[in-house]
């Protein structure tokens, strides 16, 4: 399991997991799951196009994911955000279908692009992955405060001079970079599952951002390592294990939140407004956690 050719796999997967854990935290915080899903799926068309004209796959992926990010940003100015993402995504996929119909060798190609070829990583692939991964982490580090502010309280951010639209574009570019880095190694599906599952679980455990990011990286690493090990032994595709483990993480996080909420209600509403750390605009963990089951619940929940 740790023999020569597997070392590359472990290294690449570790880098991908760290980047996905960090970037994914903001994906979950900003509620941009659809974008994080659309860019990798759409960028695979770029890989197909690159293999058609015979250039490096990474180049095609980079071009398509950046174009996709720009397209979503531009369309999103005039239309509803989810519609913009959906339209950009299907256009990229349509092009992908066209490129694939031109290439000769296709079924296994598509399969490995979508679901990853993690057990066949070569040494030359590690360096670009590591470089792009470092760029993503540094970019997140530089934007950390403004990004956090505009994710959690966009209005306050605007007042402090953080342009929400510009922040969104920067963040889209970071997702695009993370995508093109991870896609040739782990496939479109795997990177997305890693960006959603572990951070969601981490966020339901703690409210403190740095702790949550650290925890999300740890969970992502454990997920990937376990998936590789199991995949190596069973010979089943790694995407299956990562997708399943990510869902299990999410379910565990949801269970943990529910447990804590019932306990908070049980202890005479001691967890009133103010228990939430930072997540005001970000859903579950906002102020008034126990208030959610009370009068402030949405009408849809009252009915059930």
């Amino acid at each position: 399991m740790f023999s020569g050719f597997m070392i590359n796999t472990w290294a690449a997967a570790t880098i991908v997991a760290v980047v996905a854990g960090v970037v994914g935290f903001f994906v979950v915080l900003r509620g941009s799951a659809f974008v994080a899903d659309a860019l990798p799926t759409g960028a695979f068309a770029g890989a197909a196009g690159a293999s058609l004209i015979g250039v490096n796959t990474l180049l095609g992926l980079g071009a398509f994911s950046l174009l996709g990010a720009l397209g979503i940003g531009l369309l999103g100015r005039r239309a509803r955000h989810d519609v913009a993402v959906a339209l950009a995504l299907v256009v990229m996929l349509g092009l992908g279908a066209l490129f694939l119909s031109f290439t000769v060798e296709y079924a296994p190609e598509i399969y490995s692009l979508l679901f990853g070829e993690v057990l066949g990583v070569s040494v030359n692939e590690i360096a670009p992955v590591a470089a792009l991964g470092a760029v993503c982490i540094v970019a997140i580090g530089v934007m950390y405060r403004p990004l956090m502010l505009s994710s959690v309280m966009p209005e306050l951010g605007e007042a402090r001079g953080v342009r929400a639209y510009r922040m969104e574009m920067c963040f889209l570019v970071v997702i695009a970079l993370a995508t093109s880095m991870a896609l040739p190694v782990v496939g479109a599906l795997l990177i997305f599952s890693l960006m959603i599952g572990p951070p969601a679980a981490a966020r339901s455990v703690t409210d403190r951002p740095l702790l949550a990011i650290g925890l999300s990286v740890v969970i992502a690493l454990v997920t990937v390592w376990t998936a590789i090990a199991v995949s190596y032994h069973t010979n089943w595709p790694i995407g299956f294990f990562v997708g399943t483990f990510a869902a299990v993480c999410y379910a565990a996080g949801r269970g943990w939140t529910a447990l804590r909420r019932t306990r908070a209600v049980g202890s005479a509403g001691s967890g009133g407004p103010g228990t939430g750390g930072f997540g005001t605009g970000a859903g579950r963990l906002g102020p008034g956690r126990s208030g959610e089951v009370g009068p402030s619940a949405e009408p849809g929940q009252v009915l059930t």
């Binding site: 659809f34 519609v83 598509i110 299956f240 997708g243 869902a247 009408p299 059930t304």
Partner: protein
């Protein structure tokens, strides 16, 4: 004239049985997707539609394993996934996206496993391509009754729930005040979307199925805001894109000497996108014109 007709409709277009089936099935599917898609876009559930499309691919690849028509796999999995999404789905948009993403991730993981078994245990190496990019020209005419049944079911749900759906899509609070069961309405609407996605996946492929649902409806919403008209426009745009797409894909066989046709899905998606951009431009112009008229009407008074 005759030459022109021949240039547009390459020889054999109207005589070919696969084309007949593709036109018929594609047309029905486009209309259903246009109608259901209107509510998908109004309720902001594009991501759910996309996720369901991908998960239906799981069912499609599973059906190859046990040797039944992909239609049943598509339908079973997307309706089941719609149920799961509704069950775990948080009512807030952000949490809903997250829940959708998780279900989709797990579903695609399963798809990876099924496709792996498809290619290793059975000898259907073409399975991934058929499932993901659409079997439009290889549709068997025997599935037409099933397609019609699914279409009737999807449109029936929307027709029965028309008013409550419209109310609760416009505003949840308004719906509750008027006595709409928001929860049941939402779940049934998601089931209708699941059926529409299934139909769409049967024609232009699982991962492109969102195009027929979101695209035409989004374009129609740019043109008008009256719900009935939106549905009509959306169905018409979808129908036009599908039929023109089938025609172009058929013609493309003669465009190059490679003897290979371009994929239908590509044409349909491109046409949908073009009509969206056109609608945006037209909608922007009418909005500007009415604004000008208002200003002109106001200026003498002031």
């Amino acid at each position: 004239m005759d030459h022109l007709l021949h240039a547009i409709f390459e020889p054999g277009f109207f005589g070919s049985a696969p084309v007949h089936v593709a036109l018929l099935v594609g047309g029905v599917v486009a209309v259903v997707c246009g109608i259901v898609g209107t509510f998908t876009v109004m309720r902001g559930q594009s991501y759910a539609a996309h996720g369901l499309g991908d998960i239906s691919a799981t069912g499609g690849s599973g059906s190859f394993l046990i040797g039944i028509s992909p239609l049943w796999g598509f339908a079973g999995f997307s309706v089941m996934a719609a149920g799961i999404m509704d069950m775990i789905g948080v009512r807030r948009p952000r949490g809903r996206d997250l829940a959708t993403g998780i279900v989709r991730g797990a579903g695609l993981g399963l798809a990876a496993l099924f496709l792996y078994w498809d290619t290793t245990r059975t000898s259907t190496t073409g399975a991934p391509v058929t499932i993901l990019f659409g079997p439009m020209f290889t549709l068997d005419s025997s599935i037409i009754p099933a397609i019609v049944a699914f279409s009737v079911a999807a449109v029936g749900i929307v027709a029965v729930l028309y008013r409550p759906l419209l109310l609760s899509s416009a505003s949840t609070e308004l719906g509750v005040v008027r006595g709409v069961h928001v929860r049941i309405t939402g779940a049934l609407c998601l089931a209708a979307i699941g059926l529409a996605v299934t139909l769409s996946a049967m024609t232009i492929g699982a991962i492109l199925s969102t195009a027929l649902i979101v695209g035409p409806a989004a374009a129609a919403l740019r043109l008008t805001s009256r719900p009935g008209l939106v549905m009509m426009w959306s169905a018409l745009i979808g129908l036009g894109a599908t039929w023109l797409g089938v025609l172009l894909a058929y013609d493309s066989y003669y465009w190059s000497s490679s003897g290979r046709a371009w994929p239908v899905s590509f044409f349909v998606v491109t046409l949908v996108m073009i009509s969206y951009l056109l609608a945006q431009w037209l909608g922007g112009r009418t909005a500007a014109r009415s604004r000008n008229r208002e200003r002109a009407a106001c200026s003498p008074a002031s």
